[in-house]
């Protein structure tokens, strides 16, 4: 009845005794039955493996959860993107250095404030041999924001008004208003180019089960919760990658994930917590590659509910958090203290702004000012969806208590968390880890705090909205810089989102593998960025 069926507790004897008493019915030959079936299954698995024994050069990636969907417009989770950005290509690509490079598009230009023209790379073929043309681009983009399509990427490319395809290698995109970030948007999710003909032939579900793209690997097989095998695309336009196949394995248990890396069963593992860093980097064959996350770990505040509706109270919450201490001790220095919602690594980041302050004395004053009566303040969070989320929650609860805030942590299930986001029914604060979508404040501060955004509760500020809207549609970078500066100031004053840290994302790698992680969590493996120095 429980984890390993100690239905009758510690004692076998009691079982047997009850058996004698007739309290327990007789069951038992099942052991034999299961044993036989089990060994048959094992033998079958073994045979399959022997038959498929290959001397293929393989790159094994261990992630914290299994892939869920392969249709690139049906999922935005990190573990799925890691696969789809290798099955598919985008028009543009943002590399580890944070810059935008050509990918399927060889060049692009702004023809007039609302018209972009992309030139496609010639002779690119999908895995099934079909040529990749402007029709596929048009189809993909239009589906991504089609109100009738069951996709979940509608907000990425919805600035597009129409798409024209004057010839197979030219795409002309007309936006509703000037969109300075369009080229950057095409590198993001929703922009993985899908084959129109194949998709329309097989339909949504079949496409999700057997996706066809133009990327450096092709879909080969997937045993759910075990492994996904992707064979290298030998005819890839960017050159065949350094391995013959890539295998993605879900390794949810941290000890097993790190163990698999240390034993050489995995070549790359994701989500290494800072406390495990030393172990990986000190081992003979493994190393750590870290990248400053292109996003933040923030606390999102349900600003409509007292005492959270009080501005001084929210400021006190922020001032009571000793971010330096969290970074230095809990994160072992593997994180940065942010200075606003405009993050390091993004356009218009302001390095002159000081990191967010820790000032418990001022926090106490503000709490008094807010007339706080000691209502309970909840952090509702699932555990394990961000690195160190449980530890940070406990630490912050304790820091809040130190300044007199009656805080408490409540663990919730991830699905409940999702539901509460949608219903905006969080009672207090919750964690969120917004990614800066296009390396620009528009894809970060504005995307999350614009009206209807996932973190905009009842926070509305006329000036903030005016600037956000204007900056979104302006191609004048000087104006945009000023706008985002002012918006960041307004945000820090009102604090609907309390930035906490900008973490390093740590990956464990075999020393033989040369690859640098991307700040936006997209795990691209291409010929130019992956080397495997072994036979």
């Amino acid at each position: 009845m429980s984890h390993r069926g100690e239905g009758d507790g510690m004692s076998v004897e009691s079982l047997v005794r009850q058996f004698r008493d007739g309290v327990i019915t007789r069951r038992g030959f099942l052991a034999g039955a299961a044993g036989v079936l089990g060994s048959l299954a094992a033998a079958e698995g073994l045979l399959a493996r022997v038959a498929g024994a290959q001397s293929k050069k393989t790159l094994t990636v261990g992630q914290s959860a299994d892939v869920s969907k392969l249709d690139p417009q049906m999922s935005t989770t990190v573990n799925d993107i890691a696969v789809t950005f290798n099955l598919f290509d985008n028009l543009t690509s943002r590399h580890a250095d944070g810059k935008l490079y050509p990918s399927l598009a060889t060049e692009w230009k702004l023809v007039n404030p609302t018209t972009w023209q992309f030139k496609l790379r010639p002779n690119v073929k999908f895995h099934n041999g079909d040529p990749l043309t402007s029709t596929d681009v048009k189809f993909t983009y239009e589906r991504s924001y089609d109100p009738n399509a069951k996709v979940i990427t509608k907000s990425v490319l919805n600035t597009i008004e129409r798409i024209e395809t004057p010839d197979p290698l030219t795409v002309v995109i007309v936006t509703k208003k000037p969109d300075p970030l369009l080229a950057a948007r095409t590198s993001y999710y929703a922009g993985q180019i899908m084959p129109k003909n194949y998709f329309q032939k097989v339909g949504e579900d079949e496409f999700n089960a057997k996706p066809i793209g133009s990327g450096p690997v092709k879909f080969t097989s997937w045993v759910k919760d075990d492994r996904m095998i992707l064979d290298a695309n030998r005819d890839y336009w960017g050159g065949k990658i350094a391995v013959d196949q890539i295998v993605f394995r879900p390794l949810p248990e941290l000890a097993a994930r790190i163990g698999a890396l240390l034993k050489g069963e995995a070549d790359i593992v994701t989500k290494v917590p800072p406390d495990q860093m030393e172990r990986v980097s000190k081992a003979a064959n493994t190393k750590i590659e870290g990248v400053l996350y292109g996003g933040l770990y923030c606390l999102s505040v349900a600003t409509q509910k007292p005492p959270l509706d009080s501005k001084p109270f929210r400021q006190a919450m922020s001032l009571a958090i000793d971010r330096e201490l969290i970074v230095k001790e809990l994160w072992r220095g593997q994180a940065a203290v942010p200075n606003s919602m405009v993050i390091k690594g993004d356009a218009h980041y302001d390095p002159t702004l000081p990191p967010l302050k820790y000032d418990p004395a001022r926090a106490k004053e503000l709490i008094k000012e807010a007339n706080y009566k000691g209502d309970e303040l909840l952090i509702e969070t699932p555990i394990g969806f961000m690195v160190m989320d449980k530890e940070m929650s406990e630490v912050i609860v304790s820091m809040w208590k130190d300044v007199g805030i009656n805080a408490r942590l409540e663990q919730i299930e991830y699905s409940v968390y999702q539901q509460k986001i949608r219903e905006k029914s969080f009672k207090g604060v919750r964690w969120t880890d917004p990614t800066s979508a296009y390396n620009d404040p528009d894809g970060m501060m504005w995307r999350h705090l614009a009206e209807g955004g996932p973190n905009a509760y009842w926070f509305r500020n006329a000036r903030f909205d005016e600037l956000g809207t204007a900056a979104r549609f302006s191609v004048d970078e000087k104006f945009r810089e000023q706008a985002y500066k002012e918006m960041a100031r307004i945000e820090l004053d009102f604090l609907p989102l309390i930035p906490v840290i900008q973490p390093m994302e740590l990956y464990g790698l075999q020393k033989a593998v040369e690859w640098k992680p991307y700040a936006n969590q997209m795990m691209e493996f291409r010929r130019f960025n992956l080397k495997v120095n072994r036979a």
């Binding site: 004897e13 047997v16 009850q18 058996f19 406390d275 030393e278």
Partner: protein, 299 residues
Amino acid sequence: MASSTHASVENRLTDEEPIVRRRTVPLFVWASAAFLLVVVLAAAAAPLVSPFDPIRQSLRERLKAPALFAEEGRQRHLLGTDQLGRDILSRVIYGSRVSLAVGFAAVIIGGAIGGILGLISGYAGGVVDEIIMLVVDAQLAFPFILLAIGIIAVLGPSFGNLIIIVGLSGWVTYARLVRAQVLTIKEREFVIAIRGLGGSTWRILVSHIVPNTLAPFLVVTTLELARTILLESTLSFLGLGIQPPTPSWGGMLNEGRGYLDSAWWISAFPGLVLMLTALVVSRVGDWLRDVLDPTLRGA
């Protein structure tokens, strides 16, 4: 429920050698009792015996190894500190409160529900018996962990809900045990005689069946106690256990699972106490059974 008896099974009831026939109390029982007493006392007097506040964090002191003597200018943490710099010893002491409370409360719930349903089922027979035993079968066929997750998703995680779930996981054992005992006793001559003389059902139940069932009931209780303490730790593993920052042994064991080879002390000490407690309680249960139930000693 088929209820025939296997002589061969009867003989296997104890792995202790038949020297248990002797009436002396073995050393291990004394030792076990002493250990349990220490645990219960520590739980009761937690605020007095804990060197630190169990939920007080100190990030600068995190992951300190156990030390008999403090470093210069630092506080001494006999069993080390955890990932948030909290004192392990204090947490183990306070954790005993939660673990024992969950264990006892769950056993009481399971025992009460199971005992009463078993009594009714065994005594009434017929349709009532059928229905109750049907529920028993259903629960046995049900993967309980899944039910627990479902229930917590509905009710939310809290101490009370945890106790209810752990309690519900164990009632079947009691019900079957009590029912079997009732069935045996019901047909004995003296009960039939009393009934023949017009004795009331309740009276028979209370004055004869209940006392006769008490001994095996007690034995099962000790075994269940050990099981529930373990079950709490499994629920913690699944994120369904006691909410932080309240310490429980199972929860601590679970929190330390990412640190097994870098900071072994986080999980080793609560794990040790948890295992010892489970072990000791169940061994005492084994011994109790041998002493209390004469049918077992003739082997």
